[in-house]
Symmetry: C2
Amino acid sequence: MIEAVYQLTGTKTEAQSLAEKVALEQSLEVPREIAEAAPLPEGTIGQVTGVTEHEEGWRATVQYATWLASGRPSQLLNLLGGNCSMLPGVRLVDVRLPDELVREFAGPRYGIPGLRKLLGIPERPLLCSAIKPRGVSNEQLAEVASAMALGGCDLIKDDHNLVDRSPQEFTNRVTQTQQAVQDAVSRTGRPCLYLPYLAAGPADWSAYLEAIEKAGIRGVLISPMLMGFDAVWHLRQHTDLILMAHPTLAGGPLLGTHHGITPAVLLGKIMRLVGIDASVFPNAGGRFAFTQDICMDLAKALRDPLGPGQPAWPTPAGGMSVNSIDEQADLYGPDTCWLVGGAMLSHPEGIEAGAASLREALVSRFGDQRTDSYDPAVSACEMPEDIKDPTTIQHILKRLESGWEGREAIAYKSDGALPFHGVKRFELMGKSDEPMSFDVRYFELDPGGCTSMEKHQHVHAIIAAEGKGEIEISGNISTLAPQDLAYIPPLAVHQIRNPDSDHHFGFYCIVDRDRDRPQAP
Amino acid sequence: MIEAVYQLTGTKTEAQSLAEKVALEQSLEVPREIAEAAPLPEGTIGQVTGVTEHEEGWRATVQYATWLASGRPSQLLNLLGGNCSMLPGVRLVDVRLPDELVREFAGPRYGIPGLRKLLGIPERPLLCSAIKPRGVSNEQLAEVASAMALGGCDLIKDDHNLVDRSPQEFTNRVTQTQQAVQDAVSRTGRPCLYLPYLAAGPADWSAYLEAIEKAGIRGVLISPMLMGFDAVWHLRQHTDLILMAHPTLAGGPLLGTHHGITPAVLLGKIMRLVGIDASVFPNAGGRFAFTQDICMDLAKALRDPLGPGQPAWPTPAGGMSVNSIDEQADLYGPDTCWLVGGAMLSHPEGIEAGAASLREALVSRFGDQRTDSYDPAVSACEMPEDIKDPTTIQHILKRLESGWEGREAIAYKSDGALPFHGVKRFELMGKSDEPMSFDVRYFELDPGGCTSMEKHQHVHAIIAAEGKGEIEISGNISTLAPQDLAYIPPLAVHQIRNPDSDHHFGFYCIVDRDRDRPQAP
């Protein structure tokens, strides 16, 4: 059962009637006499379970059956606050979610403990800044990022106005910035993660994600109110990126006094539910309208236990400076990611000095304990690229005696985790940003060679082409002769082998460009 | 230059200062001294061009350089009302867009004239209803749709709470409803279009679109505030679907008195810009908070000239009944799509009678002139499916002497528009809702056979497999022998031929599942 709490205006009778109206509007949206005439499954209509007096009017609790959320973040939001967003005097102020739904959404992949491990910072708050200003060259943006990393930022995000017109522009910009941050990291020896702004739509989604993966970038900044919560959840499910959320456009519901949604619900519980690791919000005392109470409620919603998901980082923006650190630290405590923009950019001795002074202030208050930064295992089938230069688009790829004109074989070496041997790969199409949503690869197994025994969410379409091989899918073994196809379903454990002692076995393998990494069986 | 008009609170001095704050916040988001110190391209910072007194406070006009919108709807919204949504006392009340941007976004594909042609209704308002309630069986939902179509609805949309848990559930439900509507159409002889609710996320987007295409459905209902405006624009660019927008969740910005965005901008100009053909909004006098003035401003924003795009249908919901028709018709005029829910569903003689009475009321006021409904040409390469039953998922597809086990060849017949001959197709993978973003097909050209000379936005990955063929891409002819590959770029005119007089030429063709239809060269 999902429980929503709405703050309502009017007399008690009006509030009770408004609560009934909301419960019906949000669940079934038909006149009550029709709702009551039709034989409907249990729980189709929301139930008002209580209306109590509250300092700002009335609070009504409405219960909705969990199945009404259809297991989708966007539908959950629609159920809780969709149509009733247009009813004056109705504000969504709290939501309690059943464990089954929280488990279904899973929550942040990293959250507070995960980012602490990745960065090797076990105790103190994190320091984050934003690359600005829009309008300068990629080189200048990379220099800003470099200064922030050298000065001591733990996270560096793009300004959320850094929106490129094409995947190619994005790739050029973020690759350059990532390189600058990596160079700074190798100079300071302190981890620092760069989070570019992912402002992609369905048409170029996979091209942006590929650029991010190729550049070795570990996370992104996103604007859930612009991108939609289903898209955020997709990133949580289908990538292993760190997700930081920007609140742009959220002011509509947030600033309502008698309508809309409170920050603790929209920027807190909902963000966390769909997998946001760090939720940015305007800090009290900054340029925007949030009070200290609002900020504290929001920080609590991000950190409090919520099913099996990790707690997420409250990421207040504004109001933090070397002078205010003690006061702010008393308020927010150590599990806080500080987003500092202006105070760092306008430091009289430059950005690096600005970052360093803030880092020192945090360290002197919280100490500088460090652990080894977590090194996630490199996975097996999607081995690290050895291609230095990307392949180029060719209209015709001529088959040679061995391989293809314009394509070089990539020979794999097993890293021990998921053993394989005698495997060569050719990237035939997709690696050159061709505007398609899949990659075409060719694998050649030496006599006796085999791929890793592994599984992953994404599926394979295999087309056998040369020689004879065998494939094992979920324990079933089949032979593959030229022009046979194999489909490997999601999470099916599989391996492809060449049992022949004399000949190669060659096959095409076509996969979604946007895909997860392989796992051990 | 993009011009935004904000309504501001406070004294004139405060309003002027607030206007400057908005202009900087929305464009560059750095302290002014930094903005002024950096050498930035012309127009990087928004410019306040005037602050004038207005009955509700002050109105400030701010100019932004067009390039700041990055040619993306979500970034345009971010620029106009993103961060400043969180500034109290700032409400976006108008926007004037330069022709170049309006042309880039293109606007509604059908709009008022296009839907009039499709439906063969040259003059009167349209009648639309919503299928309800959620919770009953697919058969019952189809019966509701049938009654609405028999009674005389022109458009029938899903309730926006009809959110399925999987593409398969969606496919079953909408296919059944579409069939019921089609049956009703063949009985009445009056066109009626069914618009299912597309609540898909990036993971299942293409599976939903495929189900829609397979069922012969011509349009969809979407919730732009949940789905994101870039996704809406993607539908406009990459499909030829009619797009109807639902305003759920939009109340946050809309209901603000001193913050947010006016309905005429958010549900009017922005919806229209991204390609919405019909924008649903709560009518004055219904369950929600819109006044008559608000509704008239919104209707005007949807219909007024805006670059080359078509005007869109104001689609008021609520307040329309047989008794109110004259009054409502005086207000809204003929270019209006009436969304009627409760009044139709609760008619004492049933839904069909409810729809009929409303249709008769419209016809008696506006006449019943009819034209032939427009029959859009069927396109060539993506020929209509002859497959009655979908293919099934097979882990192994064994190559037979001819064809594959479990797959039947589909023989094309040229429809004359884009001639071709001697072409057989096998759908090998993708047509069974395998969770992948591409389809794997195999084409076999008879001796002397050829595909259509055509072009399309989506690309082809071709892998030659049997015999020898030739391919023409943008006028360049190449031969293809087994294991040669060909990449056909976006909009390249192409044809594949089998010049051999004795042997077949066989090739795999892999394409994005979500793709546009072919066009004549």
